[in-house]
Symmetry: C2
Subunit: 321 residues, 2 copies
């Protein structure tokens, strides 16, 4: 059997490398056929006592914080963990992908330098969200490309379509454009211009504008939007799910409704964005998953599961607990 | 007791004037101290058999559709119901406000012509959304001002603050700015520029950026955003609430959980945007409420209740069923 390796950037997350290392341990326990390359401080990694022979160390003591300029970080003398991780991914065939919970700007700068696909101008960030019909919609971009132009939105449509074609075997993924009204005349300047470009692009199965209340309705396989708006959709969907679930928990307690717990459990299995929610970079030669900065160990394991499922051409969230 | 009148524009809604007239009937039944002025076709209104002495007719047979240019509609020979309604509101002291479910562009054009406050450059559209803390946040703008500049966002902050000061007796309403990150450096170009202006405006209690997952968290009393993004927040919040509630209904049926019904009822009372959801125009001398085009009769009654509560200085949704 071929070597299947996942690279984990241990530095830059809010909870620190210890939590990421515990995530790495969970990955090794969950996937016997997977080995890891861990980018971070050697002493810390060795002290974690992970199973011998299942991991190797990519030594790096430096990281990029939210206060650093990501591009300037390329000129540092000391190795930066996220760059080491991405460079290694570009060199090694057996690598399924890279997982990082660090600075998004640095992850993009590194991905552009080491992993950019030939046909792509700039990678974008997607989220695969559960729809009410039971399927998934690829939301792109979710916040990596702010203030972008109409041509970039068309590129998002292509990259999202490629992804859904590959992942879900959808021949001709339906592409919707996020707008403030369903009619083609609705939208801001950017959306109107993108609408015209998408409508005449023969490589895209464009179905028109999608309103904000239909984002998770399953009407489209790919939902295209500029990063600022996409970030609102992603975070608002998550926030509303949390709000309603919290309300049910409170109601169940104060009114003595034991069944509330069962319902909460069901909703969590369908709409728990925190455990579903690794961002997926599109437009790179290797898969790059971005966990949120505050991610816990199980989010690292879930990201690894996404990589394994993608490599095996399975549905993204199959057997996510 | 003074004359208290509400003006209803009967034309332009998706379900037609018949449904609006049934809404008018509900208003008269619910509020004995209120009389109505109904803008629409005389024959239709007379045929509805509403209680004599409780209403008067503002005759108008013409409306502005989504295909019309709202400003050109001013030059028509035949009277346009929404303009007639707004002009009448500007003339009569006893009018609490205007309710319309017609074209938003026409409503704005008419409001600017007949009801604009001296200090305001352009009205904006707000929604008063329930927060998880039990209070309300004024989201402004929700889609009327697309592609606006940073100075307009500052004006939204002022108008929203005025409204929350008046409505909820909050001395110094906390103003948040919708962004893609909490740090002041996060945002698109517009948000960064607005952030700088808001921070130095002494008339605004600016608390900084708010992320999309915190929109309904109660962190701020006024949430300022450009209309396209605000439209996403409003519609996405509504869509997610509908999605989760629908899932609970389905789960309750397929798994035989009778308590699901009770939980759904509770959530509907907290998050039913369709019945809460009239848009409130800010920056006008009289209150103007915009029901959605697809509104049913009870939404007309709920809008009237908002007007009555505002006139009585009560909380907006008090005793909304």
């Amino acid at each position: 059997m071929e070597n299947r390796e996942i690279i984990i950037d241990l530095l830059g997350s809010d909870l620190g490398p210890g939590e990421m290392l515990e995530g790495a341990r969970m990955v090794l326990e969950s996937f016997p056929g997977i080995s890891l390359a861990l980018a971070g401080p050697r002493a810390l990694i060795e002290a974690a006592g992970l199973p011998e022979g299942r991991y190797r160390i990519l030594e790096a003591d430096s990281t990029v914080t939210n206060l650093d300029n990501p591009v300037e970080a390329f000129y540092r003398k000391e190795p930066v963990s996220v760059f080491i991780a991405l460079e290694e991914a570009s060199r090694c065939d057996g690598v399924l992908g890279v997982i990082s919970a660090g600075n998004t700007g640095a992850l993009f700068a590194g991905a552009i330098r080491y992993l950019l696909e030939d046909r792509t101008a700039r990678p974008c960030m997607a989220a695969i969200l559960p729809t009410t019909e039971g399927g998934f919609t690829c939301l792109v971009d979710t916040g990596a490309s702010i203030d972008c132009g109409p041509a970039q939105l068309v590129e998002f449509a292509h990259r999202g379509s490629d992804f859904m074609r590959r992942l879900y075997k959808i021949d001709s993924p339906r592409v919707g454009l996020l707008s403030n009204g369903a009619e083609p005349t609705k939208g801001n300047k950017l959306v109107k211009e993108a609408h015209a470009l998408l409508a005449k692009d023969e490589g895209i199965n464009f179905i028109g504008n999608i309103e904000g209340n239909k984002t998770l309705s399953g009407l489209c396989d790919v939902l295209v939007c500029e990063g600022f708006a996409g970030n609102q959709v992603l975070k608002n969907s998550e926030g509303m799910a949390v709000n309603l679930i919290t309300e049910i928990v409170k109601y169940g307690k104060t009114h003595g409704v034991p069944a509330a717990k069962e319902i909460v459990g069901y909703l969590m299995s369908r709409f728990d964005f925190a455990s579903l929610g690794a961002g997926i970079m599109l437009g790179t030669r290797k898969l790059v998953l971005k966990n949120r900065g505050s991610c816990r160990r199980d989010a690292v394991r879930n990201a690894a599961r996404i990589l394994v499922n993608l490599a095996d051409n399975k549905s993204l969230y199959e057997s996510v607990n």
